[in-house]
Symmetry: C2
Subunit: 231 residues, 2 copies
Amino acid sequence: MMKVVIIGHGNVASHLATAFDRSRNIEMLQVNSRQLENVPNADVTIIAVSDDAISNVSNQLKNRKGLIVHTSGTVAMDVIHQQQKGVFYPLQSFTKGAVIDFSKVPFCLEATNNEDLETLEIVAKSIGEKSYQITSDQRKKLHLAAVFVNNFTNHMYQIGQDICDEHQVPFEILHPLIEETAKKITAISPKEAQTGPAKRNDTQTIESHLENLNLQQQKIYRIITKSIQEN
Amino acid sequence: MMKVVIIGHGNVASHLATAFDRSRNIEMLQVNSRQLENVPNADVTIIAVSDDAISNVSNQLKNRKGLIVHTSGTVAMDVIHQQQKGVFYPLQSFTKGAVIDFSKVPFCLEATNNEDLETLEIVAKSIGEKSYQITSDQRKKLHLAAVFVNNFTNHMYQIGQDICDEHQVPFEILHPLIEETAKKITAISPKEAQTGPAKRNDTQTIESHLENLNLQQQKIYRIITKSIQEN
């Protein structure tokens, strides 16, 4: 059985701990980053603390043996000082309280050698299904792409809700369309899936839409319309 | 049993015809818009043709009896010349070939009186579950909101894929995050769901992201970041 220690008590640490607790292949201990003395040995030590604190926690672990990894989407692997290091990054949006189904969460893994990578794959497979070998540089780009498909998409939802609220239209009418839009691109590429007035070059509809938006919304509408048309 | 005639052979017409065909409460006939003579009487005649053609088809139907409705998200109800008129707008993205589960599609209904509205509700309930009474003006605003949550969101997905492709990262890693982002706002509002560097005012990450984007992407990144921060 694989021995895993999780350091941290934030969202990622808690969700991982709950999942490992349920796995039969993992013996897991979760510790606070202020109690790093006398932590029992482990095959893998997962530093699941805020990005800024990873280096400091790694420092405190000094000559700890076994594989030491962090869970960040943006921090390079080399921030960990120990020689046997890696990254164990579950790419998902973790909300406090919400249950995470790890079977759907992709794990982005990085290590300095194949043996350590295989260890991380075993740990990932014990709670999830899909894992990918991703370099520190690719992980940064993935995080940037995630800003567009998660944070910016969510802001498109917010503008949609603002428009609905202003005209007493229930936003829930748009929920099925939102889910369908998200599902569609698992079957065809976003480029193929694109529809709407920008794609059709429907100038009349675009002008009529702009008349019904505030200044900030107009700017966003114009620049995304232009980007769709130039693609 | 309610008698329904569908005029048109496009995506919306075909999807509706397939659904009505399966319903036990509807007797349905689908006709081409070039064969409008001798169409049998019906309780509801659904003009499911392109926006520009609705007025013309309505003209050709002249003194046809029963309720005449169109299915457009943008065209006003008054484009129909008959006195007994309405709108039967299924708010969903219809892709040719793809099967539509109407049980999840909201129907936006409009009529000139309560009796006709109830008739449209019966027709909508025969193939779907949710229907809403929406005025022509509200429908226009809903369509505008849909451009943001569907077309513009899809473009965010495309930029995400462009970034992944450029760095040989499989875009499918982001699929679960995309689905989670879409699902989350059915439980909490987009405003509450917002996370990321813009929301956190994380200037360092924002600067580093901008360095990794092309000019068009930078413009979009900047303006959406600003809009998130001002919200």
